[in-house]
């Protein structure tokens, strides 16, 4: 079989509610609109064949696998690699084409839910992957590759978290189970992604450094991407433990917002309106969560500072 689905992230039709599908399509269409106008502005007609062949490259590179253990194998998904090598907007367009063909031709991922699949595996992965990599773009070889590895791992985790949240909001899966399960599986898939991405980038840096140099498409993304990357990272870091530790709290919020109609029978019509979120989370969890936020912010600021001071030297 030439093509086999590689990760449990392509949502088929029927698993997302219409509301969630439409919301995801709206986000995807707006982002792609910006991506198209940016690539049209910054790149010439030369770029279109390049992006097309690169989309085929991502598709083909997903066939390269390596045995890990017990019959499982590691793969490349490619969102972070595409964004790092081609720049964030072009990377998003390339990943969109890949996901569209996977859905259309191989039924790996549905048609009506394709907006969600593009968002999870194309846009979010590219934004996180590029955003974090952008923060290290001027630093040394090893720093750059380490950050790229972390970025690739996080891009997979971001996609997995977004997928599980959409499934949960559609009433298709229980949040207390789907979030830890998806994140657990993808934490391992993400390690494979990170290793292959780092090795591929290191190969490209050694053979064609100009493709990732200062004047390449890879360096064209603005500093705003760093902020985007850090914000999405923060959201993932904060939401994952929250969703795993106190699913009931998030469930209540989703019910109050009317996303999960199926679970409404469990509550009276006004049951959730008295501080729904806080009442179900104990004070200790709030304190723990706040400490977590502060620690992550501190790490982000310190890393940012150290990278900034390093920049003039290198």
């Amino acid at each position: 079989m030439l093509y086999s689905p590689i990760a449990p992230m392509h949502i088929p039709d029927g698993f997302l509610s219409i509301v969630i599908s439409v919301i995801c399509w709206a986000i995807t269409i707006v982002t792609l609109g910006v991506a198209i106008s940016r690539t049209n502005k910054s790149l010439g007609e030369r770029q279109v064949p390049l992006m097309g062949v690169m989309a085929a490259f991502i598709f083909a590179a997903q066939m390269i696998n390596f045995p890990v253990a017990g019959g499982t194998s590691g793969h490349l998904l490619g969102g972070a690699l595409a964004a790092i090598t081609l720049g964030p907007w072009a990377g998003m367009l390339v990943m969109t084409a890949v996901i569209a063909v996977q859905g259309l031709l191989f039924q790996d991922g549905g048609l009506v839910v394709m907006g969600a699949n593009i968002l999870n595996m194309g846009l979010l992965t590219a934004a996180v992957g590029y955003g974090l990599y952008r923060s290290a773009i001027g630093s040394k070889f090893t720093t750059k590759l380490t950050v790229a590895g972390v970025a690739a791992w996080l891009s997979v985790m971001t996609g997995a978290l977004a997928t599980s949240l959409q499934l949960w909001l559609s009433g298709t899966a229980n949040i207390g189970v789907v979030v830890p399960a998806m994140l657990g599986v993808h934490a391992l898939i993400g390690v494979g992604e990170a290793l292959v991405t780092v090795a591929a980038l290191s190969f490209i840096l050694r053979t064609r450094p100009d493709l990732l140099g200062e004047r390449s498409a890879s360096a064209q993304g603005g500093r705003g991407w760093i902020l985007t990357g850090v914000l999405i990272t923060l959201a993932v870091v904060l939401l994952s433990p929250l969703a795993s530790a106190s699913p009931d709290g998030l469930n209540r919020v989703a019910m109050d917002l009317g996303f999960i109609q199926t679970a409404q029978t469990a509550n009276g019509p006004l049951a959730g309106y008295i501080v729904p979120f806080l009442s179900s989370i104990s004070a200790s969890k709030i304190v723990a969560g706040s400490i977590g936020v502060i620690v992550v912010l501190a790490i982000a600021i310190i890393t940012g500072r150290s990278l900034q001071t390093k920049k003039p030297n290198s």
Partner: protein, 263 residues
């Protein structure tokens, strides 16, 4: 590898093959949206939807079982919906004990789970049928007519055109890796997981450079043939009267499904 190695198109001269690709795309998407809109447990409507798939299959000359045989691709994903069996409150239907936990399947949970799987299963059959009766370039062309931005459809057209070329490259890379990874029977060979991942990464990097350089050559070749920024087609689509008849009939059937499912 042949250029059609990834193709899902099956050539016949049937009514569905001749139907305008725009109508096919719009009807398939309308059908899938309609499935998503059907309430849980609308068994009559689900049955009608499946009849719709069978009717379309009959019109396509591919045989009634064609979509069914290929529809099991969605089953692994059903695993994520298993949790609703236990989590939706309702009357217990079935209880069992596993290791140290008690599980209770509720009637509401069962209804929801079966509905999700059926919806998904019927929807994927329509998607399978769509690519089996429509050539991929026609499909892309239809999306262009449906206002998908030209840059995206062009990237997709390139992806489709060069996928088998780059797959050949991958197969060569994989074959090279295999032939230098000889091992004596029963003996451990090769490095650890990290080493294996690095080898794969180098292969991906190698493939990246080959693709990148190939895209340069492709662009130059296209320029030499008069490329000016967009792909042209020699196969303009025209809507005929019979196309509209099929479109209206399919639309009425979808409406009927919704009516049966809701009232």
């Amino acid at each position: 590898m042949h250029s059609d190695a990834f193709d899902r198109y099956h050539h016949h001269d049937s009514a569905l093959h001749r139907l305008d690709p725009r109508i096919k795309v719009v009807m398939a998407i309308a059908f899938i949206i309609s499935n998503a809109l059907l309430p849980d447990g609308a068994w009559m409507a689900f049955g009608l939807a499946w009849l719709f798939v069978l009717l379309a299959s009959a019109l396509s000359d591919l045989g009634l079982g064609y979509t069914f045989r290929r529809s099991f691709i969605v089953l692994p994903f059903a695993l994520v919906a298993v949790t609703v069996l236990f989590s939706i409150p309702g009357n217990p239907v079935f209880q069992f004990h596993f290791v140290m936990w008690d599980f209770t399947i509720t009637d509401a949970g069962l209804l929801r789970f079966v509905s999700i799987v059926i919806r998904s299963w019927i929807s994927v059959q329509m998607a399978i049928l769509l690519v089996a009766v429509t050539r991929f370039p026609d499909l892309i062309h239809a999306f262009e007519h449906l206002r998908v931005p030209a840059i995206l459809t062009t990237i997709i057209a390139f992806l489709y055109r060069y996928l088998f070329v780059l797959s050949d490259e991958v197969i060569r890379l994989l074959r090279a890796r295999q032939s230098r990874s000889a091992a004596a029977a029963g003996q451990r060979s090769g490095g650890g997981v990290l080493w294996r991942a690095r080898v794969s990464g180098n292969m991906a990097g190698q493939l990246f450079l080959r693709s990148y350089e190939r895209s340069d050559r492709i662009y130059n070749a296209m320029l030499a043939r008069g490329y000016a920024g967009q792909l042209l087609t020699l196969n303009p689509h025209e809507l005929h009267g019979s196309d509209w008849v099929y479109a209206v009939a399919a639309f009425l059937l979808i409406l009927a499904m919704q009516f049966v499912g809701r009232f």
